[in-house]
Symmetry: C2
């Protein structure tokens, strides 16, 4: 049985996605992404972390930990996010005065929550808000989290599909100490890139991919610590590091870039939104 490190409380979206991806893993929970990253290869075989959400965009902490760390990306997974309003059993929706959740979940449910006329209070965690409401027996409060969180804490769902935008997906990466070695069918590859400090450097770097017919699927710039207004890039592209096109692109990249960090190839997640 694989052990998988995640960030968040019992019942989190990460936990739900990890269960779906791995079947029945042993989940090891950490309060912060940094601690969860550290545990990979020690307390846990894998880490399972959100890299981007289709509404909020990049999860910067995870991106930065990947770029500066030594872990390899070995898998990818997509979860549809469906927010529920969750309260203690027996509490009717009319008694809810305060709603707690992670700021992003609150923002995504704002239209509905405003129609309820409740006080909206940011909390560190979606599932954590449900846990607090249960533990403290708060009878005039609700949390915003997944159906899975409601079940995990034996709580009542007052309303489903709170989110304003239904196209709400989070994409997760599976990381490990060791890169995938075997050939992968429909592969994707992640890498980190720091360009030289000259005009047109990023254009030149992207040219290495284009000329080798490697399709880039994601590009994210991140600040370089201690060097204000200097940027590194997190990239994903189609194909595997074992393939001829990407191999040739990386060879050319090495000549021009200030730094390159091959994060690994992995099977692309099947898209779950049609």
């Amino acid at each position: 049985m694989a052990s998988v490190a995640i960030q968040g409380e019992m019942g989190s979206y990460s936990e739900l996605a990890a269960l779906r991806h791995f079947g029945k893993p042993s989940i090891v929970r950490y309060p912060s992404f940094a601690e969860a990253f550290k545990s990979v290869g020690r307390e846990a075989d894998y880490g399972f972390f959100p890299i981007e959400n289709s509404i909020e965009g990049i999860v910067t902490q995870v991106c930065d930990l990947l770029l500066k760390g030594r872990l390899k990306v070995v898998g990818e997974s997509v979860l549809r996010v469906e927010h529920c309003l969750i309260a203690n059993r027996g509490v009717p929706i009319s008694r809810i005065k305060t709603v707690y959740s992670h700021p992003q979940a609150l923002a995504q449910s704002r239209k509905y929550l405003e129609s309820l006329g409740v006080e909206i209070v940011p909390f560190s965690d979606t599932a954590g808000s449900v846990k607090m409401i249960k533990e403290r027996g708060m009878m005039d409060s609700a949390g915003v989290a997944s159906e899975y969180a409601a079940r995990a804490y034996g709580m009542q769902i007052l309303r489903r599909n709170l989110e304003t935008h239904s196209h709400n997906y989070t994409r997760f990466l599976v990381v490990s100490r060791k890169a995938n070695k075997a050939a992968i069918g429909r592969a994707k590859t992640s890498l980190g890139l720091v360009t030289r400090n000259v005009p047109g450097a990023l254009y030149g770097a992207l040219g290495c991919f284009a000329k080798n017919r490697v399709n880039m699927t994601y590009l994210q710039s991140r600040p370089v610590l201690g060097k204000p207004w200097k940027y590194g890039f997190y990239l994903e592209c189609e194909g595997s590091l074992g393939g001829a096109g990407l191999r040739s692109a990386v060879r050319e990249l090495r000549k021009g870039a200030a730094g390159i960090n091959l994060l690994g190839s992995y099977p692309a997640a099947r898209s779950r939104y049609g």
Copy 2:
């Protein structure tokens, strides 16, 4: 006297930066970026918003509001971020048990706060945490905010320069209903870009800048709402929309891109870090 809309409580880093940029503006404060954006051209002449921090990176809400809105960028400003530990007068550091602040300020001060052995509690706002500690007369708590926040609330600074990384700068943009028309000396230009959904589209777009010797200084990808895994880009480059190079680049961009949004040209902020 110019009126300037900002997000945050009295004493926020935004307010401090706006005062330095405008001299003596009339500040209009809003709890959210969305409300502050809406007020520009109505309750306020200008908006003044953080676009990126040299450690945390992009401020996604501001970037998204710029990309989907109709406001123009007319200025830029850089503030050195210096976090202080702030408490009620007469409270010694040895009595502090709990420290409140915005999660980013807490993360940036984590090393020092952990050495204090206090409980670290996320709060919506840096200056807001100081306000709460004052209003509630909390004598065993401190906030993390600027020296300016301490002065704004008449509070005591227990310690300065909490931040782990001293190269901590936030870059702000000035926005207005109307674009700058006059010629600008050392100009920068902001634009939004949505590429066509074909391989190499971003490479092609960046080529329009490179071929016209326009130096790109910032590139940020953002999700397109309702279209998972499709991205728009926020770009900044050197030069003005009135200049020949950028004018020619934009002309070429229009042919290949799915959408382009000229956000305006403005004087580049003088770098304040040497």
